[in-house]
């Protein structure tokens, strides 16, 4: 399984480059919503925690897993919610102009 490690490194490298290229284009106007959005996306760590709880290999791991799922889910919900609330406020003056 030596190849999976290298595969994973390739994926990390490519994703980091995509991240740099995509995020460089984000207008400074939206840096705050950007941060709350990446925060919500980062909470995808919840999938690891869900498996930990679901597999229930030991009480210890299940307890830590439950706390981890709670923490990550609150980021998912709160992160998307506040990002959308912020973005809703950004209005252009152009449509009102003739």
């Amino acid at each position: 399984m030596g190849s999976t490690l290298i595969d994973a490194l390739f994926i990390f490298m490519l994703a980091a480059f995509i991240g740099f290229e995509v995020i460089r284009r984000v207008s400074p106007l939206l840096h705050t919503p950007l941060m709350s959005l990446t925060n919500a996306l980062d909470a995808i760590a919840v999938v690891g925690a869900i498996i930990l709880v679901g597999e229930h290999k030991s009480t210890f791991s299940a307890v830590l897993g439950v706390i981890a799922v709670v923490a990550a889910t609150s980021n998912v919900v709160g992160g998307f919610l506040i990002t959308d609330r912020m973005l809703k406020m950004f209005k252009s003056s152009r449509p009102t102009k003739p």
């Binding site: 990446t38 210890f60 799922v69 609150s74 709160g78 959308d84």
Partner: protein
């Protein structure tokens, strides 16, 4: 068996789609016109990923998953409904939660797998737990400072860098020992404890003015720790999401550190925050001219092009809605009004834009520093509200100034400058601002909200 393998494949395909949606989500954030679509893409990707995970063959216990998901949602909703001025501390808190999740999963995985942990896996796991642990407490400290539960001023003591490096070194030594022999379970709690203490000591010495940089940096750490978790769990989705978050945090850290004129290595090692409380120095007898709201309104109405320079002081005074009224009144009279936004205006990257957007100021009127600086010479009037150091021309000209080299808004190049300020006291960093003593500068003394309110009355009243 075939069913099991088929199931795994479906999950992988779902994760693949979710990854694509995450990248699209960030791509659509490039412009306010498409940004809300980006949130949708992210949400769909997240729901798919969580749904797909529940199909995982090894899951036997759904009850606790459901309880935890519901509990997390209950905590998450109020965190998503905070006031816009509280967004920085909310963001810091969510970095803490993200890091908590990552370090708990890392800890659980270690105890489940030890002693059969391959070397590479163990080193990534240590990185995950150290980064997660320090980001957890560091972000809690940052949130505490932003919420003003903790003192905003830098808490420094002698040899703190030495203590910090000693701690970090200790954690790394334990990590190396663990990589060498993963059966040494008793070492693990020490490593975690050191990381947690290190996080506290890293952020406590940093002052409130540096928070935009700190938050961005903690964002990058949170992303990297999540990517490390992806390596441990062999989850490509997690590696991708962590890499995206990490690069986002890193880019924002670089932008913030440039805007604060700190070198990037300074930021990386957290050796920042030492804003010298510059001695007021020998005060020369300089005179500033002041004006009343009536006079100021007349000047505003005579101008064709006005640039308003908002600082955090404006948000503290809750003056943004009054500023919007002023914007409306002036626009109605045919004055071209725009806003100049310094990258570190506010308490986190882009914070000022959000505060002004909340007050219904159109986003195409919010211009960032690089784009507006060339236009100050053609500007009739620059109106500074609650901003100080980011307008200080000493940053350009006075090599002895503590903020020398920091990029500033070239407000002093405008034909006339008006500054709304409580008094002549120096700003946050304790640095005198020569802008206030220029011949073309008029000081408008008073509370930002009240003064802008009287400007609105004068401007609107003069019309009727």
């Amino acid at each position: 068996m075939t069913d099991f393998a088929g199931n795994q494949q479906i999950i992988e395909v779902i994760y693949l789609i979710a990854s694509a949606l995450f990248i699209l989500s960030l791509k659509w954030m490039s412009s306010p016109a498409t940004a809300r679509r980006g949130v949708w893409a992210g949400e769909i990707g997240m729901v798919l990923a969580i749904g797909g995970t529940l199909l995982h063959h090894g899951i036997v216990d759904y009850k606790w998953i459901a309880i935890a998901l519901v509990l997390g949602t209950i905590i998450g909703i109020p965190l998503g409904m905070v006031q816009m001025t509280a967004v920085p501390q909310r963001t810091a808190l969510s970095h803490a939660f993200g890091a908590l999740c990552v370090s708990l999963v890392g800890t659980a995985e270690f105890y489940l797998r030890s002693p059969n942990v391959p070397r590479f896996m163990m080193s990534v796991l240590c990185m995950e737990v150290i980064l997660g642990g320090l980001t957890f407490t560091g972000s809690l400290m940052a949130a505490g400072k932003l919420q003003e539960i903790l003192p905003q001023r830098p808490l420094t003591y002698k040899g703190q860098n030495f203590v910090n490096f000693l701690l970090l070194g200790g954690a790394i030594v334990i990590a190396v020992l663990l990589v060498h022999d993963p059966s040494q379970k008793q070492l693990f709690p020490f490593m975690l404890t050191i990381a947690v203490i290190f996080g506290v000591l890293l952020v406590v010495p940093i002052g409130g003015a540096d928070m935009p940089t700190v938050i961005s940096l903690l964002n990058a750490y949170a992303g990297l720790s999540a990517a490390a978790m992806g390596f441990v769990l062999d989850s490509k989705l997690l590696i991708i999401a962590g890499a995206l978050d990490g690069s986002s945090g890193l880019i924002l850290s670089v932008i913030m550190s440039k805007a604060m004129n700190r070198s990037f290595t300074n930021v990386l090692f957290g050796a920042f925050g030492q804003v010298q409380a510059a001695s007021a120095g020998a005060q020369e007898a300089k005179t500033a001219r002041s004006a009343t709201a009536e006079e100021a309104a007349a000047i505003l109405l005579a101008a064709n092009k006005v640039v308003i320079v908002p600082g955090y002081g404006m948000a503290v005074a809750q003056a943004q809605h009054k500023v919007r009224e002023l914007y409306d009144a002036l626009t109605k009279r045919g004055v071209d009004v725009r806003f100049a936004i310094h990258p570190v205006a506010g308490r986190m990257p882009g914070h000022m834009n959000v505060l002004l957007a909340e007050a219904d100021i159109p986003y195409d009127r919010l211009i960032d520093m690089e784009d507006i600086n060339g236009e100050f010479p053609q500007t009739d009037l620059a109106l500074v509200i609650g901003a100080n150091d980011v307008t200080n021309p000493a940053a350009r000209s006075d090599a002895s100034s503590p903020i020398y080299g920091m990029p500033i808004l070239d407000v002093d190049k405008a034909r006339t400058v008006m500054v709304i300020k409580r008094g002549m006291s120096p700003g946050f960093a304790g640095i005198d601002n020569p802008l206030y003593y220029l011949d073309r500068t008029l000081m408008l003394f008073g509370d930002a909200k009240a003064f802008v309110g009287s400007l609105v009355r004068e401007v609107a009243g003069g019309h009727g």
